[in-house]
């Protein structure tokens, strides 16, 4: 038996080590920020990767951490996009960062209201309901064309400089830095959250909701909370799209967008936060390459990738992301016990 003081220190170290920044993470973000200066001619695609990564991150929060399958996450993305575009077009909120926040709040509101729909029911029900919500929004956007620009999209949107200082240019320099900073900040918050007691409770809800409620967790309340937050993140991603392209159209709500998003997250892997980001990088480059080869039929290849991934097995695919997964890996308990026993002068180990 371990003497209690050692056991406590080992347990503390073991638990908190997971939240510490791993070297690979630091490299990842340094590289991402360095790209601002190192790859100026790729800023356009990097911008897309940034907001797509944020969008995928938001899906990971509900799919990877809370276990909710959604086929309509584009609903929040699209709402954020249109909100930001409309705020800019009618000059209601001129500063982009402020507009971003408003768009996020709007998406969170929608997320909150629709969260009750995904609390009950099977996987299929959730799938249907989330799909239904996205389709309803698309229909609404279509019918109210006088507001949204209908099938042609919202024209005449011009985005003012960020913080009044940084103009959006057509090379994407400001866009990339802007999106990356937003992504990074939101990532930091999400990272904190998944390593917190709340995050642990989400994983327990995903694993066994019956057991969770049996230890006093209000499953519904937790799901509503994370769904709302994820919706907000998706809305901000959509707003970033609208702001960096000065455009919004119906296809922000489309099924294709929700389906592509699933693929992005699956490529990278769910449940460790970096999956969406890595998936976004791979997806965008893959899309870039494939649409140069076969501009009209590239969905075929995307579909093929999906089929192959599932047939090969998602775990086998995600095994190559193992270095990143070690972010959440467990330290060696025995080694910790030896280290702490030795340092406290007691030669025993359990």
């Amino acid at each position: 038996m371990l003497p209690p003081p050692i056991a406590i220190r080992v347990a503390t170290e073991w638990l908190s080590a997971r939240a510490r920044w791993q070297p690979l993470e630091v490299v990842f973000w340094l590289a991402a920020f360095a790209a601002i200066w190192l790859f100026p001619n790729r800023h356009l695609i990097l911008t897309e990767i940034a907001w797509l990564g944020l969008f995928a991150l938001s899906l990971d929060l509900i799919l990877g951490y809370a276990g909710i399958i959604s086929l309509g996450h584009a609903a929040f993305f699209g709402l954020g996009a249109y909100t930001a575009a409309l705020l800019a077009k009618y000059e209601i909120v001129n500063e982009p960062v402020l507009a971003l926040l408003v768009a996020g709040v709007a998406a969170m509101a929608l997320g909150f209201v629709t969260s009750f729909l995904v609390l009950r029911g099977s996987d299929l029900t959730r799938l249907m309901v989330t799909l239904g919500v996205a389709l309803v929004l698309r229909e609404l956007a279509n019918r109210y064309g006088w507001l949204t620009g209908g099938a042609d999209g919202l024209q005449g949107v011009s985005i003012k400089p960020v913080l009044g200082l940084f103009h959006f240019d057509m090379f994407g320099h400001t866009s990339y830095a802007y999106c990356l900073i937003v992504l990074f900040i939101l990532f930091l918050i999400a990272r904190r959250l998944v390593n917190s007691p709340f995050g642990l409770s989400l994983m327990s809800v995903k694993g066994n909701p019956l057991r969770s409620s049996a230890i006093g967790i209000s499953v519904d309340a937790r799901l509503v909370a994370i769904y709302t937050l994820a919706a907000g993140y998706a809305g901000i991603a959509g707003a970033l799209l609208a702001q960096t392209t000065s455009f919004a159209s119906l296809e922000v709500f489309s099924f294709d967008r929700s389906a592509d998003l699933l693929l992005v997250l699956i490529i990278g892997g769910t449940g460790y936060l970096y999956g969406g980001l890595i998936g976004a990088i791979i997806f965008k480059f893959m899309q870039d390459y494939l649409s140069q080869l076969t501009p009209q039929y590239w969905p075929f290849w995307i579909g093929l990738v999906l089929v192959v991934i599932v047939l090969l097995g998602r775990d086998r695919i995600s095994s190559w992301t193992a270095p990143f997964r070690r972010v959440a890996a467990h330290l060696d308990w025995r080694a910790l016990v030896r280290r702490f026993s030795a340092s406290s002068g007691e030669g025993r180990s359990s």
């Binding site: 038996m1 371990l2 209690p4 056991a7 406590i8 347990a11 503390t12 170290e13 073991w14 638990l15 908190s16 997971r18 939240a19 904190r192 959250l193 390593n195 917190s196 007691p197 709340f198 995050g199 642990l200 409770s201 994983m203 327990s204 694993g207 066994n208 019956l210 057991r211 969770s212 409620s213 049996a214 230890i215 006093g216 967790i217 209000s218 499953v219 909370a225 467990h330 308990w333 359990s350």
Partner: protein, 251 residues
């Protein structure tokens, strides 16, 4: 005597079947009360009704005199009525440390804390380690629950319930499926429960029942059949008849 848990004419009907038939039960504070009965008697249904997993067709449930009938499962846990499951309901991907840690953290009201890192509160961890030690789980503290041997999982099932600091603990067949030679561990764990915790034990293993309980209720076909001290119940011919499937003497 103070009554910790009471049911008044509790009835549960499932399209034609009466799973609980006018069950009126009174359990004293600090009691070691056992509920026995043949399979299908409605014991687990009763636990489900007490914990809010199922809603009664009619009747009331009082915890320390307070009606908890309209409270959800997790609300009842907060009020102090906690259960274990007959078939292990654990978090297969979490370790015992995290599982018990989660229960303790929720009890302490830190469940909504999204900013603090798990593991940053030594006092919480001290409590978790102490509970795990009591249930002899420290040697598997860092292993995924899914790979633990069944006996250890069963102990964890009880440990998690204890971590919630219940006022009333409902144990649903804690020794179910545990190999003969490991049963004494379960029994030991059950016996070391704090004296002020009221325990309602459902069991088939009569050794455990008779060594543990100071009062026994017998449930047959959803209704309370006989109730009394262990000696009284052991002597009662009707109880033997019910278990052996014999014709009941005209009661």
């Amino acid at each position: 005597m103070t009554v910790a848990l009471e049911t008044i004419n509790l009835v549960k009907r499932f399209s034609g079947i009466v799973a609980s038939n006018n069950v009126s039960l009174q359990i004293e504070k600090g009691a070691r009360h056992a509920l026995i009965g043949p399979n299908g008697a409605g014991k687990t249904t009763l636990i489900n009704l007490l914990t809010g997993v199922q809603k009664p067709t009619s009747g009331r449930i009082l915890l320390d005199g307070e009606d908890i009938g309209d409270k959800t499962t997790h609300e009842r846990v907060r009020l102090g009525i906690v259960r274990t499951f007959q078939i292990n309901q654990l978090f297969n991907d979490l370790t015992p440390l995290e599982t018990v840690g989660l229960a303790v953290s929720e009890r302490r009201g830190q469940g909504l804390d999204w900013w603090r890192i798990v593991g940053s509160r030594p006092d919480l961890i001290a409590e978790v380690v102490e509970i795990l030690e009591r249930f002899r789980l420290t040697d598997v503290i860092d292993k995924r629950t899914g790979v633990l041997p069944y006996g250890k999982q069963r102990l964890l099932e009880i440990a998690v319930a204890i971590a919630c600091r219940p006022r009333v603990l409902l144990l649903d067949e804690p020794a179910a499926g545990v190999p003969e030679d490991e049963r004494h561990e379960i029994l030991a764990a059950v016996e070391t429960l704090p004296k002020d915790v009221t325990v309602l034990l459902i069991e088939h293993d009569m050794d455990i029942v008779f060594s543990f309980a100071d009062r026994i209720s017998v449930l047959v076909n959803g209704a309370l059949f006989v109730e009394g001290s262990p000696e009284e119940v052991a002597r009662d011919a009707r109880v033997k008849a019910v278990y052996l499937g014999e014709e009941l003497p005209d009661a």
